[in-house]
């Protein structure tokens, strides 16, 4: 693209002049562009790109806590160990398992993907349904509901995750206390509601998921994250609904289409171009959602609700295995690359369908 805009100028009279002044004139635009880019490129080269390349090098070494300080007595220079770190992560009985008991990479990836899809499906479905509900003509208190429903979006997710963690406390948490007070109405003893939302190891639904029964803490996380995530989709859907022409619905109801038919044949196709990019954004965000896993469940029980970014963080923060963590991050990069390429393809495919 860039080259083709420069080319037509070369045969022009000005640029036939050789030498330095001719070159200066020909490249004036490019040079201005790079002057303007210089500050950002310099900062990014030092603080973004250099660490990324350093990370790739680190991932092939045994960089550990003793490699940190060259002045220390126990200093040990990081040694090149080839792809050992990658094998330690990807092979079932590698060093990752001995460092982090119960951690299996492929199970982690499976859980992380399922976690992402299950959340985004709930977010998008609830987001659209509630947006349509709030869009009903003649509904009372619309403004009040819209103001309240925005609240989960404006609270920092760190605060939300820590609050929900305390709410799920078996003894002092609000969830069990509320269930107990509802249960009291039906004469159910309060001990019944001593549910260990985060720590219970026994999966509540034994056959779900195949090959990876989900612990109760997954459902606790899912509920908290649905609470957190649907308002964004409602905001996006509400914006999209505002641009759907009114006469489409009028024409449809004259033709005898009922509410459900109008929803599937007018509303959904019309808001789809706005919802798909939002869903893709939700997908990437949820895949990397550090806060809910780290703060709410702590990855437990038995690391069953750990996701990839929390694992990478624990390798640095708890295990101090910097080389292994670097390799893990490189793997995360490739997983995300695949997800992005796939979602881009989905987005593009649906775009061409709509236009």
């Amino acid at each position: 693209m860039a080259a083709s805009t420069e080319q037509p100028r070369i045969p022009s009279q000005q640029s036939k002049k050789g030498g330095f002044s001719g070159w200066m004139r020909r490249t004036a635009n490019t040079r201005t562009a790079y002057y303007y880019l210089l500050p950002a490129l310099f900062v990014m080269a030092v603080i973004t790109f250099y660490p990324l390349f350093y990370q790739i090098w680190m991932s092939f070494t045994d960089y550990n806590v003793r490699s940190l300080n060259p002045n220390s007595a126990v200093y040990q220079a990081p040694a090149w160990i080839g792809i050992k770190n990658y094998l330690d992560i990807l092979l079932p009985e590698g060093r990752l398992l001995s460092l982090m008991p119960n951690m299996h990479f492929w199970r982690l990836l499976y859980f992380n993907l399922f976690w992402t899809f299950s959340n985004v499906i709930f977010h998008v479905t609830l987001g659209i349904l509630i947006a349509v509900l709030l869009n009903t003509k003649g509904l009372w208190l619309k403004g009040v509901y819209r103001a309240i429903f925005i609240l989960p979006m404006v609270i920092p997710s760190l605060v939300i995750a820590t609050t929900w963690r305390n709410m799920y406390d078996p003894q002092y948490g609000a969830i069990n206390q509320m269930l107990a007070s509802i249960g009291a109405l039906f004469n159910i003893p309060p001990e019944t509601f001593h549910i260990r939302w985060i720590d219970q190891i026994e999966p509540p639904i034994k056959w779900f998921l195949p090959m990876m029964p989900l612990p109760l803490s997954y459902y606790a996380m899912l509920f908290a994250n649905i609470w957190l995530g649907w308002p964004f989709m409602t905001v996006v859907a509400t914006g999209a609904l505002a641009s759907v022409p009114e006469d489409l619905y009028e024409a449809a109801s004259i033709d005898g289409a009922n509410g459900r038919q109008q929803f599937w044949n007018i509303t959904i196709p019309m808001i789809r171009p706005a919802m798909i990019p939002a869903a893709m954004l939700g997908m990437i965000t949820t895949f990397n959602l550090f806060h809910i896993s780290y703060f709410l469940s702590g990855g437990g029980p038995l690391r069953q609700t750990e996701i990839m970014v929390t694992t990478a963080y624990r390798l640095v923060n708890e295990n101090r295995e910097y080389g292994l963590a670097a390799a893990f991050s490189v793997i995360i990069f490739f997983v995300l690359l695949i997800i992005t390429l796939l979602t881009n393809r989905v987005t593009r495919a649906t775009e061409s369908y709509d236009e």
Binding site: T32, V43, I47, L141, Y172
Partner: protein
């Protein structure tokens, strides 16, 4: 759906019931944390649900203001650290990003595609996935007793690594929506590239700069992973670190009323900014998402 008809009462009541139920679920955690924070008794854990605890007062807020955690550091110091960190990072990122964003939005030059691809690649990677190299490289920069890694400056630099590409991409998205007519007219009138940028683009971009600044600020205000990994001196700690010190297994004897008051004091400033700028921020998030 039909505009010519009034909503029938029965349907109205059904919809209201659904919406009230959703309202209850949305408000439940918020009400819980607010009522906890008003509990004056300083009891370590709540034993029952009550909307307004007996003898409600602001005592928990006073205690948290003085010293939220076991560490000898005041709320004001923690808030200042968070403010310095996220304010500095956001201001620096937006300031450095604007000329680059303008160039990517308006100019065609050799290497444009390559550089933009580089930025998108970085954007795709979560900040936590570069923590290992940032930690070990910043840890090597030591001047006497000062270790760059173990300071707010080091955390700030590491945060810029992710905030700057985001700011470039977000600002580029905004600038793409500003019509080019004004610039073209100015160029015909003989304005130099610098004049076009400083006299025309920059004034038009002020709202975009403000929104990008606030989105970066909201993200940085509760930054946790880098600070938790880098900092060891309680005087440098941030609000997020203190809040986590008051939660769950770390809470120890910290009463939950203190945790609740702290949560509200951390969340309130950004919630207010978010509500005030909601329209622009949502627009910005979706612009930034077109990766």
């Amino acid at each position: 759906m039909n505009s010519s008809q009034k909503l029938p009462l029965r349907k109205q009541l059904v919809l209201q019931a659904i919406l009230l139920f959703i309202t209850f679920i949305v408000l439940f955690p918020i009400m819980w944390i607010v009522s906890l924070s008003l509990d004056p008794r300083g009891i370590s854990r709540p034993t029952e649900l009550n909307l307004i605890p007996p003898g409600a007062s602001l005592q928990a807020y006073k205690d948290v203001m003085a010293q939220p955690t076991a560490n000898p550091v005041s709320f004001a110091q923690l808030a200042l650290n968070s403010l310095f960190l996220t304010g500095g990072v956001s201001l620096f990122s937006v300031g450095v990003a604007i000329t680059a964003a303008y160039t990517f939005s308006r100019k065609k030059f050799p290497g444009r595609k390559f550089l933009m691809l580089g930025i998108i690649t970085v954007l795709m990677l979560p900040a936590i996935a570069t923590i290992a190299p940032l930690f070990v490289t910043l840890n090597q920069i030591r001047i006497g007793d000062f270790n760059l890694r173990n300071s707010l400056w080091g955390v700030g630099l590491a945060m810029v690594a992710a905030a700057l590409p985001f700011a470039i991409w977000n600002l580029k998205g905004y600038l793409d929506t500003i019509p080019k007519d004004l610039e073209e007219a100015a160029i015909i009138d003989g304005a130099s590239p610098n004049q076009v940028f400083f006299r025309i683009i920059l004034p038009l971009a002020v709202p975009a700069l403000a929104v990008t600044f606030f989105i970066a600020f909201l993200g940085g205000w509760t930054e946790f992973a880098l600070s938790w990994q880098f900092l060891t001196d309680p005087q440098d700690f941030t609000l997020s670190m203190a809040l986590w010190n008051m939660t769950g297994q770390y809470a120890g004897s910290v009463p939950w009323s203190h945790f609740a008051a702290m949560s509200i004091m951390v969340a309130l400033p950004v919630a207010v900014i978010y509500l005030a700028l909601q329209k622009y921020i949502v627009g910005g998030l979706t612009i930034g998402s077109v990766k």
